[in-house]
């Protein structure tokens, strides 16, 4: 019989921020907190930088054409986190590269570049952060 446990908060006993869960293949465990996405955002790449939806984000500011800075609500522990970044590009000018400009505990900045090597606005900018919260 399947079982379902309903709780509002789960905390580690030995270390409050560390809980192991069994992996899919049943032969190993993985750290739950380490695997969770800590920040994600989907915003308009035009000058509005309007946030469509997000998690743990306070704002997205325009850093100039093709560039945006995402401010994190609850900071990361350091600037050594990992982040995924995609952008749906316009037909012209096509985006040739997506770059991470800066990593900070409270923010990170992204940039889109076209085939001419110039910054260019995308349309739907999406990113997700994995790492340690402060």
């Amino acid at each position: 019989m399947a079982s379902l446990l309903k709780v509002d908060t789960i905390t580690g006993v030995t270390t409050a921020g560390s809980i192991s869960v069994t992996g899919e293949g049943n032969s190993t465990t993985t750290n739950l907190q380490q695997g969770l996405c800590k920040v994600w955002v989907h915003y308009n790449g035009d000058s509005s930088h309007a946030v469509q939806d997000s998690f743990n984000v306070t704002s997205v500011t325009d850093g100039g054409t093709g560039r945006g800075t995402i401010s994190i609500a609850n900071d990361m522990a350091n600037d050594d986190y990992s982040l995924q970044y995609t952008d749906s590009c316009p037909d012209s000018p096509a985006i040739n590269g997506l770059y991470i400009h800066t990593f900070q505990t409270g923010a990170y900045s992204l940039a889109s570049v076209n085939n001419s090597g110039s910054y260019t606005d995308g349309t739907n900018v999406c990113s997700a952060v994995f790492g340690d919260l402060a």
Binding site: S3, T9, G23, E24, S27, T28, T30, Y99, I100
Partner: protein
């Protein structure tokens, strides 16, 4: 009434299998390193990083994946940190590692702040 559960490990009812996280799952490995020194500054489930050659790096998992069909996202800031023509790709997926290739203007190149995120099934 709010409730709090204090545990160190969560497994299925049999005690040996995974629990469902209600239509969601976390990443299984990640890393952040400078291509110039190939030293991991931050990582999860990564035992080591092998510097294969200029612009080529292999993150080695601590706990292996169940097969080579996982997903990898990788990127970097580029050496010039401007609108440079740097690129990334992941290749050679095995249960214990994969390879990242970083490029600058079409040639293999060590890049700053190279990152990767792995999503898939553990062994």
């Amino acid at each position: 009434m709010t409730s709090q559960l204090n545990v160190d490990t969560i497994a299925d009812k049999a005690g040996t299998g995974p629990v469902a996280l209600t239509k969601q799952e976390g990443s299984k490995s990640r890393g952040h390193f400078e291509g110039s020194d190939a030293t991991l500054d931050g990582s999860f489930n990564t035992a080591s990083l092998t510097d294969n050659a200029t612009g080529k790096f292999t993150p080695n998992f601590t706990n292996s994946m169940t097969d080579g069909n996982y997903s990898v996202a990788t990127n970097n800031t580029g050496t010039s940190n401007t609108a440079s023509n740097s690129g990334n790709k992941a290749q050679t997926y095995t249960t214990s590692n994969f390879q990242i290739v970083t490029t600058e203007n079409g040639a293999d190149s060590d890049e700053d702040d190279t990152i990767y995120i792995v999503v898939g099934d553990l062994a």
